[in-house]
Amino acid sequence: MERTIRVLVAKPGLDGHDRGAKVIARALRDAGMEVIYTGLRQTPQQIVNAAIQEDVDCVAMSILSGAHNTLLPKVVDLLREEDASDILVVGGGVIPGEDIPFLKEKGISEIFTPGTPTDTTIEYIRNNIKRR
């Protein structure tokens, strides 16, 4: 049997709008993945603790507040500190194109901006998880 992919869908920082995160969570569920949804206003440390306890293959973060350049790399750094760099990190939300190269350089594997079909995200996660 094929291994079930586990994804943590998280909302880092202070914006209070999680419709997008929920749409993604639902789409990943419908694609046969197990989605651990953590809710709003998570700190990078909370996200990393959850990722480790849940032993996920991927952390998918939705962020609309503009703090992506601070919060997303922080999650990657904390994962590295926990020796958990084998977890794929992706982001989505309102993120200006000029910030994307910086985020990728910091270890966020892909950024999905508004209008991305959910299939694109699903396929990306399926093809890029690092473990087994």
Binding site: M1, R3, T4, R6, A25, R26, L28, R29, D30, A31, G32, M33, E34, V35, I36, Y37, T38, G39, R41, Q42, T43, Q45, Q46, N49, A50, I52, Q53, E54, D55, E82, D83, A84
Partner: protein, 327 residues
């Protein structure tokens, strides 16, 4: 040859990894616990071998089941109960079970939403599990996860499950104390007479007790419990989990049940009964897997299903046919 060398190397590495997991788990390493639970969920044979080795280290944690209808406040209540226990510096693990879609195999596991601030407490380990539609496999995987978290060193393990369906009732047979969470306004007193719910709770909490109808719900549950025999009468405790009301009373109820079990010898009896259930469940699954081994028998079963649907054969004869095939 190169293939073989690669294989041997892989075997060595995985052997090394499983040794390492054993050692790290005994030291209370969270990543090791998390990884081993994943291996169990993915039915990796290695996981069973590790559990066999580790079994002698289990049995120390006190296991509390929390069940009740969807939306009753189980996660919120668990969050508050755990916070109170953390003040006594107890190490806690929580297994939160949510349903899996029978169509896609996917799941949204959302119990962590209500436990956000437990997340940064190093003394708390939370793991969400999806039911994954395995044949009776949910209770098996949950029981295995309990063993892992026991070795990891949890003093208390909470299993939170949606209280509908047989597999959830089965999970309760893993627990030392079961807390049934009810809410006002779910139906008339006939609901409380129905089998199942009233029989598996050792402690009852009526959450959202600030709502209309709470007193009536409490009275109805009490009336039903008065009919139950046995030497333990479950308490019925009002609570408003979100406002932290009634949490101490519930913990006291759990503590009283724990003391009662230990004083009366009921604790050992229950653990033996739980082990018996586990063994039978494992045997049943092995038998089912052997009997219904898809590659061998699925075609035959499909043929018979067609015949039963068109009334050429009855299901009882179909069952006899399958059994005769196996003999």
């Amino acid at each position: 040859m190169r293939l073989f060398v690669g294989f041997a190397k892989k075997m060595r590495e995985s052997g090394g990894e499983s040794m390492e997991i054993r050692e790290r788990l005994l030291k209370g390493d969270k990543r090791a616990a998390a990884r081993l639970i994943t291996m169990i969920e993915n039915n990796e044979a290695e996981a069973v071998e590790i559990l066999k080795d580790m079994y002698g280290h289990t049995g120390k944690a006190y296991v509390i089941g929390i069940t009740g209808p969807p939306g009753a406040g189980k996660s919120t209540l668990t969050d508050k109960l755990v916070k109170h226990l953390r003040k006594q510096n107890k190490k806690i693990a929580i297994i939160a079970v949510d349903p899996t879609s029978p169509f896609t195999g996917g799941a949204i596991l959302g119990d962590r939403v209500r436990m956000g601030d437990l997340n940064t407490d190093p003394g708390v380990f939370i793991r969400s599990m999806g039911a994954r539609g395995r044949l009776g496999g949910l209770s098996e995987a949950t029981r295995a996860a309990v063993k892992v978290l026991d070795v990891y060193g949890a003093d208390y393990i909470f299993i939170e499950t949606v209280g509908v369906g047989q597999s959830e009732i089965d999970i309760v047979k893993t627990c030392d104390t079961t807390l049934m969470v009810m809410v006002p306004g779910l139906g008339d007193d006939i609901q409380t007479i129905k089998a199942g719910i009233m029989e598996i709770g050792d402690v009852f909490a009526v959450n959202k007790a600030d709502r209309d109808g709470a007193r009536r719900t409490i009275t109805e549950i009490n009336m039903m419990l008065d009919f139950n025999g046995g030497n333990w009468r479950p308490p019925v405790i009002p609570a408003v989990a979100i406002n932290n009301e009634g949490i101490d009373d519930i913990l006291e109820g759990i503590k009283n049940h724990m003391d009662h079990m230990k004083e009366t010898g009921e604790f050992n009896k229950r653990r033996i009964a739980n082990c018996k259930f586990e063994i039978i469940d494992l045997v049943r699954q092995r038998l089912m897997n052997t009997l219904l081994d898809k590659s061998k028998r699925e075609k035959r079963i499909n043929e018979l299903s067609g015949m039963v649907a068109s009334r050429e054969m009855d299901p009882y004869t179909a069952q006899e046919t399958i059994f005769n095939d196996i003999k």
